[in-house]
Amino acid sequence: MPLDKPYLDVPGTIIFDAEQSRKGYWLNQFCMSLMQAANRARFKADERAYLDQWPMTEEQKQAVLARDLNWCMRTGGNIYFLAKIGATDGKSFQQMAGSMTGMSEQEYRDMMIKGGRSIQGNRYLGEDGDAQPQRQPQGKR
């Protein structure tokens, strides 16, 4: 894709563009299916069997089973779709977002109450903010 992608040098951030969308098509469509209570029940009853009904890659299935949202995103997932998995698990958006940082739930919540993550050092890849690759995972654990 030769179009300009000025968003590739933002640390810790994957922009959901056409390329990601193509890659994640079935993963995201699987997520959409969890908007029906009956499907959520079927998924909970046997996650693997439910996933196997979708033409997702094995890696996408593993990422879902592991509830590793960063991994899901690398395989083309988008957070608004993936949120349906979290909802099925009874998780809040804050729990989901926090789970991608390596921080504990309490650490992430405290960071937000203190005003959220600072933009300092987190604008461009190569700076030294807490979202930069060299500082992952975050948190004390």
Binding site: T13, F16, A37, Y80, Y108, M112, G115, R117
Partner: protein
């Protein structure tokens, strides 16, 4: 003739809906958020609209990857609250205004905006949370929203969203459309989403208070310059989901000080301005503007 008598801007954080639905609005964490909307509720009661034109984005709810409209206008008679995975929010069905919606659609398409008409869709927290914030709790069955609502969904899920400039121009086209409607109607236009937030990856939780405040200042006073900002500014400075703010520019463009894309009248009156961090992952911004 119909007229746009106010524009309202607010974040539409899903957790705010959860806090309302689970009666947590008086908890320490949530109190200051809802306090910021107390005078807005009062204002809405004193300035009741006949119709709300509500700009929001669908969060992978009504639109899957099968079909993604850049701009979708709800021309149906009603829109049910969607089950986003937690079950539908316990709020009333949203009644539309098919006649005005169809009129706006026709006029705006003839002004070269390539809308998608939608007669059947469910609406998610992007639309119902702002209604809850300004109208308060409403019984899902016995209750009702105070007036008909025309849902207007903007794609900000799959890149590229429409540009700020495009959204600003669309607001102007919507005002022209409303003002060419024969019936006397008092119309509010609401822009929702934002402010700074990022829901993904190692940068999740990003908040940029200074940027948000400067953006608000500029949007009020120099909206054409604000509309000229490229997407990458939002992503870099306000987080990957901060891009939702382009939707505020649709409402701002519909204010009567804007003529031919420029400020040519007195700035609108700021009836209320509120900013709070955090609500869940998000910086909450809220604004009420009335024509001068």
């Amino acid at each position: 003739m119909a007229k746009i008598t106010a524009s309202v801007y607010t974040s539409h954080v899903p957790a705010i809906g959860v806090a309302i639905d689970q009666k947590k609005t008086q908890e320490d964490y949530w109190k200051p958020v809802f306090a910021g909307y107390d005078c807005s509720k009062q204002w809405l009661q004193e300035n009741p609209p006949d119709v709300i034109f509500l700009v929001y984005n669908d969060h992978a709810t009504a639109f899957s990857l099968d079909l993604i409209p850049t701009f979708a206008i709800g021309t149906g008679a009603q829109f049910r609250p969607a089950d986003e995975g937690w079950g539908p929010r316990p709020v009333p069905v949203v009644k539309g205004h098919p006649e005005l919606a169809a009129h706006i659609a026709q006029s705006v398409i003839q002004q070269d905006f390539d809308l998608t008409l939608v007669n059947k869709m469910e609406v998610d927290h992007g639309l119902t949370v702002p209604l809850s914030l300004l109208c308060g709790e409403r019984d899902p069955l016995q209750g009702a929203w105070p007036c008909p609502v025309i849902p207007f969904a903007v794609n900000v899920v799959q890149y590229p969203a429409p540009s700020g400039r495009r959204c600003f121009a669309l607001g102007q086209a919507i005002r022209k459309a409303v003002e060419s409607y024969d019936e006397h109607l008092n119309v509010h236009i609401w822009g929702t989403g934002g402010m700074s937030h990022q829901l993904q990856g190692a940068r999740a939780g990003l908040i940029n208070r200074e940027w948000d405040k400067a953006w608000l200042d500029q949007m009020i006073a120099d909206p054409a310059a604000c509309a000229a900002r490229p997407h990458i500014d939002y992503v870099r400075e306000a987080g990957s989901e901060g891009i939702e703010l382009v939707m505020w520019l649709i409402a701002r463009g519909a204010m009567p000080d804007i003529v031919d894309g420029k400020v040519q009248g007195p700035a609108p009156v700021v009836k209320h301005r509120f900013y709070h961090v955090p609500a869940s992952n998000t910086a909450v911004g809220h604004l009420i503007l009335e024509p001068a």
